[in-house]
């Protein structure tokens, strides 16, 4: 069995292109995984959608050109790290992305994950369904005790991949977690529902998707950043996963035809002045909406 390439980030810049071409015939070996239980965090890199947005030629640009770790996945990772500190899970992060996504993945290691895998050469324009099938192949091979991931990605806001993955695996799942505990060999997840919060108890293995409202992800410390350089990052081409030939040629079932600026709401009237003026304007505004019962 061959080992997948384990990268140390010192090499990343220098040997950027030449070192990636390792074919893994069978799968790869992970360091002493057998002893520990593992949480697998699925993470994605996205554009910095909270920086300023502009359009050019039908595509969207952001003022910050550097991609970021999807905020919801960062919350998932934070939660996995907290569980790991309390219960000794190993935390492994998997990301599907181009080779240079290893920079973003390295941040996950700097936050405290033990190990990471970057799955490269995804089919073009992969949608949630394609991503879920690739992740399912990875999870089946890897065999984690739980998968924790963001409930949606901050760029597309689609939010389907988690449920799709759970169904492929035939694992119990809980979405939109705002709290996670590990007790009596089970994950107790508090999820935010429509009009209540639900405590759902799932045995292992299970899948959880996280709201970003369950924690504030830690910022990597200098020590964390230094340590991350020595942590293993496996670079694996998708076609070397089990069933990989089919995976690497999957066609997306949904495609984006165009992106256009959202029609903006026009700003209305802005009222400044003394208290009387302000209240009068408000009374008039509220009175114009029948449902308020004001002015009827």
């Amino acid at each position: 069995m061959q080992h997948a390439r384990v990268l140390n980030s010192g090499k990343i810049q220098n040997e950027w292109t030449s070192i990636w071409h390792i074919q893994t015939e069978a799968f790869f070996l992970y360091s002493d995984m057998s002893q520990d239980r593992t949480i697998l965090v699925c993470a994605k890199e996205t554009p910095d959608t909270y920086s300023d947005l502009s359009f050019s030629g039908g595509s969207v640009q952001f003022s910050n050109p550097r991609p970021v770790l999807n905020a919801y996945d960062a919350s998932a990772l934070e939660e996995a790290l907290v569980l790991s500190e309390a219960h000794g899970f190993r935390v492994h992060v998997v990301m599907i992305g181009p080779e240079k996504a290893s920079e973003t993945l390295r941040k996950a290691l700097a936050m405290g994950a033990d190990e990471a895998t970057l799955l490269t050469d995804a089919p073009k324009d992969a949608d949630s369904a394609v991503i879920a099938k690739i992740l399912a192949a990875f999870v089946e091979q890897f065999g984690p005790d739980a998968v924790i991931m963001g409930r949606q990605s901050q760029d597309t806001d689609v939010g389907l991949a988690g449920g799709m993955l759970a169904d492929h695996l035939q694992w119990p799942w809980t979405t939109n977690a705002i709290g996670i505990r590990f007790e009596q060999e089970a994950f107790w997840v508090k999820r935010q529902g429509d009009s209540a919060q639900e405590w759902i108890d799932s045995p292992m293995p299970c899948l959880i998707t996280c709201s970003n409202n369950l924690n504030d992800p830690r910022i990597p410390t200098l020590k964390g950043i230094m340590a991350s350089k020595k942590k293993p990052m496996h670079i694996v081409a998708i076609d070397s996963l089990p069933g990989g030939d089919a995976l690497s040629t999957l066609a997306p079932s949904t495609t984006i035809e165009s992106l256009t600026p959202m029609p903006e709401r026009a700003a209305g009237e802005l009222v400044e002045g003394d208290l009387e003026t302000l209240v009068e304007a408000l009374m008039k505004g509220l009175g114009s909406i029948p449902e308020t019962g004001v002015g009827s």
Binding site: M164, D194, P261, G295
Partner: protein, 339 residues
Amino acid sequence: MRVCAVIPCFQEELRSSALEVLTKATIVASSSGGRVEAWLVGPTAEKHSSKAAQYGAATLRVMELEVDSEAKGVNVSLGRRIVDAVDELMTQSTAELATEGAPQPPSLLLFDNTELTKDVLGACGARLDVPVIADVVDLSWDGHQCIAQRPTYASKVMSKVHAEGSVILCSIRAGLFEPDEKPVKATTHRYKSPQTDLLGQVLKELVAPEGDTVDLTEAPIIIGVGRGIADETGKDLVAKLATLIRGEIAISRAHFESGMYSHTLLVGQSGKVVAPRLYLALGISGSIQHVAGMSESHTIIAINKDPEAPIFDLADLGIVGDLYQILPALIHALESTQA
């Protein structure tokens, strides 16, 4: 061809989002020449079936589902029950239609966009192995191709998404159009629910803190409370105002940290998406993540002491001033008109 409104029925009242989905289904069906079906699943499915016929569904497929004992009367179910139900209804109805001599009809399945749906939509898509488009604000369908509009990048960009196949799933954003009554004579088919293997999962408890009984997506008047409301005095003022203008309270993420309100009330990219008649934003700056959840409101009124606050860029009426002065005066004015 059939357009099927998939309606989880766990509450005593049928949700308005379900009626909106039915209305959308009739619109899509009439432009594509398809029939409208309602798939009602849940403990109150039978009860709501006549209402579905009132809103245009000529075929009613009713499946009584078991309810988790903790979750009576609320929109809550372990997701697998619903995925199994949808899977079963698809198999059974396809088989029936085939024995009626017709080829398997193209099917568009429309869901609402509640947290309950979000929990199951991806799994349903994977189970049926069909395309899924989530959180759609408009769509067209010709029996094979579906073109849908959905907001993306925190609702700053409209994305036009294309899917094709004999079965397609879409969820429809709530609050965007009025449900429209369109009574039809309906035939009802009843189905036995499949035995769901919950894989050891248990719904342990429902936590419904104070205020959690409201369903924001259904409220016509919403008062959005931001960091500008900073203490109990402010909270009391907001509560008084809410009673006077029949509003429900929502919060920005600032109040996740403050702990002053229940988390269920969060509006925005990571909370609920609402489109009420009136959204009254109190001390909310207008971050894109918050705006993503309320920019479709019919009317927006904002009060903020900072004239440069981004919320004013989208407010129909902006009031510049200190909430702690304005709210008592406004409450006084409202009380004197209502006295």
